[in-house]
Subunit: 133 residues, 2 copies
Protein backbone atom coordinates (compact mmCIF):
# COMPACT_ATOMS: atom_id res chain seq x y z
CA UNK A 1 0.00 0.00 0.00
CA UNK A 2 2.75 2.43 0.99
CA UNK A 3 4.80 2.77 -2.16
CA UNK A 4 7.34 5.20 -3.53
CA UNK A 5 8.43 8.26 -1.55
CA UNK A 6 7.13 11.01 -3.81
CA UNK A 7 8.71 14.03 -2.13
CA UNK A 8 9.99 15.73 1.00
CA UNK A 9 8.52 19.19 1.56
CA UNK A 10 10.68 21.84 3.23
CA UNK A 11 9.28 25.25 4.18
CA UNK A 12 11.88 27.96 3.58
CA UNK A 13 12.01 31.66 4.48
CA UNK A 14 13.68 32.64 1.17
CA UNK A 15 12.87 30.51 -1.88
CA UNK A 16 15.53 32.00 -4.18
CA UNK A 17 18.30 31.64 -1.59
CA UNK A 18 17.25 28.06 -0.81
CA UNK A 19 17.10 27.06 -4.48
CA UNK A 20 20.52 28.65 -5.12
CA UNK A 21 22.01 26.67 -2.23
CA UNK A 22 20.75 23.31 -3.52
CA UNK A 23 21.95 24.23 -7.02
CA UNK A 24 25.44 25.05 -5.70
CA UNK A 25 25.50 21.55 -4.21
CA UNK A 26 24.82 20.04 -7.62
CA UNK A 27 21.06 19.42 -7.54
CA UNK A 28 18.77 20.50 -10.36
CA UNK A 29 16.15 23.09 -9.44
CA UNK A 30 12.98 24.19 -11.23
CA UNK A 31 11.76 27.74 -11.68
CA UNK A 32 9.48 28.90 -8.83
CA UNK A 33 5.82 28.00 -9.43
CA UNK A 34 2.94 29.84 -7.77
CA UNK A 35 0.09 27.57 -6.68
CA UNK A 36 -2.45 30.19 -5.51
CA UNK A 37 -5.15 27.56 -4.86
CA UNK A 38 -2.77 25.92 -2.37
CA UNK A 39 -1.32 29.14 -0.93
CA UNK A 40 2.28 28.23 -1.74
CA UNK A 41 5.06 28.97 -4.19
CA UNK A 42 7.22 25.90 -4.84
CA UNK A 43 10.61 25.07 -6.30
CA UNK A 44 11.32 21.43 -7.10
CA UNK A 45 14.78 20.11 -6.35
CA UNK A 46 15.60 17.01 -8.36
CA UNK A 47 17.43 14.16 -6.67
CA UNK A 48 17.81 10.93 -8.70
CA UNK A 49 15.51 8.82 -6.51
CA UNK A 50 12.98 11.42 -5.30
CA UNK A 51 12.38 15.14 -5.14
CA UNK A 52 12.38 17.93 -2.62
CA UNK A 53 9.72 20.60 -2.68
CA UNK A 54 10.92 23.91 -1.29
CA UNK A 55 7.78 25.80 -0.26
CA UNK A 56 7.10 29.41 0.69
CA UNK A 57 3.74 30.93 1.71
CA UNK A 58 1.78 32.67 -1.07
CA UNK A 59 -1.01 35.16 -0.40
CA UNK A 60 -3.27 35.52 2.62
CA UNK A 61 -4.10 32.53 4.79
CA UNK A 62 -1.42 30.23 3.39
CA UNK A 63 -1.59 26.82 5.11
CA UNK A 64 2.14 27.02 5.81
CA UNK A 65 2.22 30.60 7.20
CA UNK A 66 1.83 29.32 10.77
CA UNK A 67 4.67 26.84 10.32
CA UNK A 68 7.02 29.59 9.15
CA UNK A 69 5.98 31.85 12.06
CA UNK A 70 6.78 29.03 14.48
CA UNK A 71 9.95 28.09 12.60
CA UNK A 72 11.28 31.35 11.13
CA UNK A 73 14.46 29.64 9.86
CA UNK A 74 12.28 27.08 8.00
CA UNK A 75 12.13 23.34 8.47
CA UNK A 76 11.13 19.95 7.12
CA UNK A 77 7.35 20.17 6.80
CA UNK A 78 6.11 16.79 5.54
CA UNK A 79 6.93 13.72 3.51
CA UNK A 80 4.67 12.24 0.83
CA UNK A 81 4.16 8.60 -0.10
CA UNK A 82 2.47 7.35 -3.23
CA UNK A 83 -0.40 4.90 -2.81
CA UNK A 84 -2.41 3.03 -5.45
CA UNK A 85 -5.87 3.84 -4.07
CA UNK A 86 -6.42 6.84 -1.84
CA UNK A 87 -9.81 5.58 -0.59
CA UNK A 88 -8.25 2.28 0.45
CA UNK A 89 -5.51 4.21 2.29
CA UNK A 90 -8.10 6.42 3.95
CA UNK A 91 -10.03 3.37 5.17
CA UNK A 92 -6.86 1.64 6.37
CA UNK A 93 -5.67 4.70 8.29
CA UNK A 94 -8.99 4.98 10.11
CA UNK A 95 -8.96 1.25 10.81
CA UNK A 96 -5.59 1.53 12.56
CA UNK A 97 -6.67 4.61 14.52
CA UNK A 98 -5.00 7.35 12.48
CA UNK A 99 -7.09 10.50 12.03
CA UNK A 100 -7.10 12.29 8.69
CA UNK A 101 -6.66 16.07 8.63
CA UNK A 102 -9.51 18.34 7.53
CA UNK A 103 -12.89 16.77 6.82
CA UNK A 104 -11.28 13.38 6.28
CA UNK A 105 -11.96 13.29 2.55
CA UNK A 106 -9.19 13.18 -0.08
CA UNK A 107 -8.53 16.52 -1.82
CA UNK A 108 -6.82 17.39 -5.07
CA UNK A 109 -3.27 18.23 -4.11
CA UNK A 110 -0.57 20.41 -5.60
CA UNK A 111 0.13 17.69 -8.21
CA UNK A 112 -3.54 17.42 -9.29
CA UNK A 113 -3.90 14.01 -7.74
CA UNK A 114 -6.07 12.97 -4.78
CA UNK A 115 -4.17 13.37 -1.52
CA UNK A 116 -4.78 13.22 2.20
CA UNK A 117 -2.72 14.07 5.25
CA UNK A 118 -2.57 11.85 8.34
CA UNK A 119 -2.77 13.59 11.73
CA UNK A 120 0.82 13.99 13.03
CA UNK A 121 -0.34 13.22 16.58
CA UNK A 122 -1.38 9.77 15.31
CA UNK A 123 1.79 9.30 13.24
CA UNK A 124 4.80 9.76 15.56
CA UNK A 125 4.70 13.53 15.24
CA UNK A 126 5.49 13.43 11.51
CA UNK A 127 3.16 15.02 8.96
CA UNK A 128 2.63 12.39 6.26
CA UNK A 129 0.88 12.98 2.96
CA UNK A 130 -0.48 10.14 0.87
CA UNK A 131 -0.91 10.77 -2.84
CA UNK A 132 -2.72 8.54 -5.30
CA UNK A 133 -0.52 7.59 -8.25
Amino acid sequence: MMNWLNHIAIVVPDLAAAAAQYKLLGATTSAPKDLPEHGVTVVFVGIPNTKIELMHPLGEGSPIAGFLEKNPAGGIHHICFEVAEIDETSAKLREIGVRILGDGKPKFGAHDRPVLFAHPKDFQGALIEFQQT
Copy 2:
Protein backbone atom coordinates in the same frame (compact mmCIF):
# COMPACT_ATOMS: atom_id res chain seq x y z
CA MET B 1 27.67 16.19 -5.75
CA MET B 2 24.29 15.77 -4.06
CA ASN B 3 23.19 12.32 -5.08
CA TRP B 4 20.71 9.74 -3.87
CA LEU B 5 18.47 10.42 -0.87
CA ASN B 6 19.76 7.75 1.53
CA HIS B 7 17.15 8.06 4.28
CA ILE B 8 14.69 10.17 6.24
CA ALA B 9 15.15 9.94 10.01
CA ILE B 10 12.10 10.23 12.24
CA VAL B 11 12.40 10.36 16.04
CA VAL B 12 9.57 8.42 17.67
CA PRO B 13 8.42 8.08 21.28
CA ASP B 14 7.59 4.36 20.91
CA LEU B 15 9.66 2.36 18.43
CA ALA B 16 7.52 -0.79 18.50
CA ALA B 17 4.27 1.13 18.00
CA ALA B 18 5.79 3.17 15.18
CA ALA B 19 7.19 0.10 13.40
CA ALA B 20 3.85 -1.70 13.75
CA GLN B 21 2.04 1.25 12.18
CA TYR B 22 4.30 1.36 9.11
CA LYS B 23 3.97 -2.42 8.80
CA LEU B 24 0.18 -2.20 8.87
CA LEU B 25 0.45 0.24 5.97
CA GLY B 26 2.36 -2.32 3.93
CA ALA B 27 5.99 -1.26 4.44
CA THR B 28 8.72 -3.71 5.43
CA THR B 29 10.34 -3.09 8.81
CA SER B 30 13.58 -4.41 10.31
CA ALA B 31 14.10 -5.66 13.85
CA PRO B 32 15.17 -2.88 16.26
CA LYS B 33 18.94 -2.38 16.32
CA ASP B 34 20.79 -0.78 19.23
CA LEU B 35 23.61 1.54 18.20
CA PRO B 36 25.09 2.37 21.62
CA GLU B 37 27.99 4.37 20.12
CA HIS B 38 25.40 6.66 18.51
CA GLY B 39 22.94 6.70 21.43
CA VAL B 40 20.00 5.46 19.38
CA THR B 41 17.94 2.37 18.68
CA VAL B 42 16.78 2.24 15.07
CA VAL B 43 14.19 0.42 12.99
CA PHE B 44 14.55 0.64 9.21
CA VAL B 45 11.37 0.99 7.18
CA GLY B 46 11.83 -0.12 3.58
CA ILE B 47 10.28 1.95 0.80
CA PRO B 48 11.18 0.96 -2.80
CA ASN B 49 13.16 4.14 -3.55
CA THR B 50 14.63 5.00 -0.13
CA LYS B 51 14.34 4.13 3.56
CA ILE B 52 13.02 5.62 6.73
CA GLU B 53 14.95 5.32 9.97
CA LEU B 54 12.74 5.35 13.02
CA MET B 55 14.96 6.40 15.93
CA HIS B 56 14.56 6.33 19.68
CA PRO B 57 17.09 7.52 22.30
CA LEU B 58 19.34 4.83 23.80
CA GLY B 59 21.24 5.28 27.06
CA GLU B 60 22.39 8.47 28.76
CA GLY B 61 23.17 11.57 26.74
CA SER B 62 21.56 10.39 23.51
CA PRO B 63 21.96 13.08 20.82
CA ILE B 64 18.22 12.86 20.10
CA ALA B 65 17.01 13.04 23.73
CA GLY B 66 16.62 16.83 23.52
CA PHE B 67 14.62 16.57 20.29
CA LEU B 68 12.17 14.14 21.90
CA GLU B 69 11.85 16.36 24.98
CA LYS B 70 11.01 19.31 22.73
CA ASN B 71 8.78 17.16 20.50
CA PRO B 72 7.27 14.51 22.79
CA ALA B 73 5.02 13.19 19.99
CA GLY B 74 8.12 12.70 17.80
CA GLY B 75 8.92 14.32 14.48
CA ILE B 76 10.97 14.31 11.30
CA HIS B 77 14.55 14.77 12.50
CA HIS B 78 16.79 14.90 9.42
CA ILE B 79 17.27 13.76 5.86
CA CYS B 80 20.45 12.21 4.49
CA PHE B 81 21.97 12.57 1.03
CA GLU B 82 24.71 10.42 -0.40
CA VAL B 83 27.79 12.17 -1.76
CA ALA B 84 30.82 10.71 -3.54
CA GLU B 85 33.51 12.49 -1.49
CA ILE B 86 32.74 13.76 2.00
CA ASP B 87 35.82 16.03 2.08
CA GLU B 88 34.77 17.67 -1.17
CA THR B 89 31.25 18.20 0.28
CA SER B 90 32.73 19.62 3.48
CA ALA B 91 34.85 22.11 1.49
CA LYS B 92 31.91 23.05 -0.74
CA LEU B 93 29.60 23.65 2.23
CA ARG B 94 32.13 25.99 3.88
CA GLU B 95 32.69 27.74 0.56
CA ILE B 96 28.98 28.57 0.28
CA GLY B 97 28.78 29.67 3.92
CA VAL B 98 27.20 26.57 5.49
CA ARG B 99 28.61 25.66 8.91
CA ILE B 100 29.19 22.01 9.77
CA LEU B 101 28.01 20.72 13.15
CA GLY B 102 30.50 19.59 15.79
CA ASP B 103 34.20 20.15 15.12
CA GLY B 104 33.56 20.34 11.40
CA LYS B 105 35.29 17.04 10.62
CA PRO B 106 33.47 14.04 9.07
CA LYS B 107 32.64 11.28 11.57
CA PHE B 108 31.79 7.63 11.11
CA GLY B 109 28.01 7.51 11.10
CA ALA B 110 25.45 4.87 11.99
CA HIS B 111 26.14 3.12 8.66
CA ASP B 112 29.93 2.99 9.19
CA ARG B 113 30.54 5.55 6.51
CA PRO B 114 31.93 9.07 6.87
CA VAL B 115 29.15 11.58 7.48
CA LEU B 116 28.67 15.21 8.42
CA PHE B 117 25.71 17.34 9.35
CA ALA B 118 25.14 20.85 7.98
CA HIS B 119 24.00 23.50 10.46
CA PRO B 120 20.19 23.82 10.12
CA LYS B 121 20.42 27.61 10.59
CA ASP B 122 22.50 27.70 7.39
CA PHE B 123 20.23 25.23 5.56
CA GLN B 124 16.67 26.57 5.68
CA GLY B 125 16.04 25.17 9.13
CA ALA B 126 16.38 21.59 7.92
CA LEU B 127 18.94 19.24 9.44
CA ILE B 128 20.77 17.64 6.50
CA GLU B 129 23.23 14.77 6.77
CA PHE B 130 25.70 13.99 4.01
CA GLN B 131 27.04 10.45 3.83
CA GLN B 132 29.91 9.24 1.69
CA THR B 133 28.90 6.32 -0.55
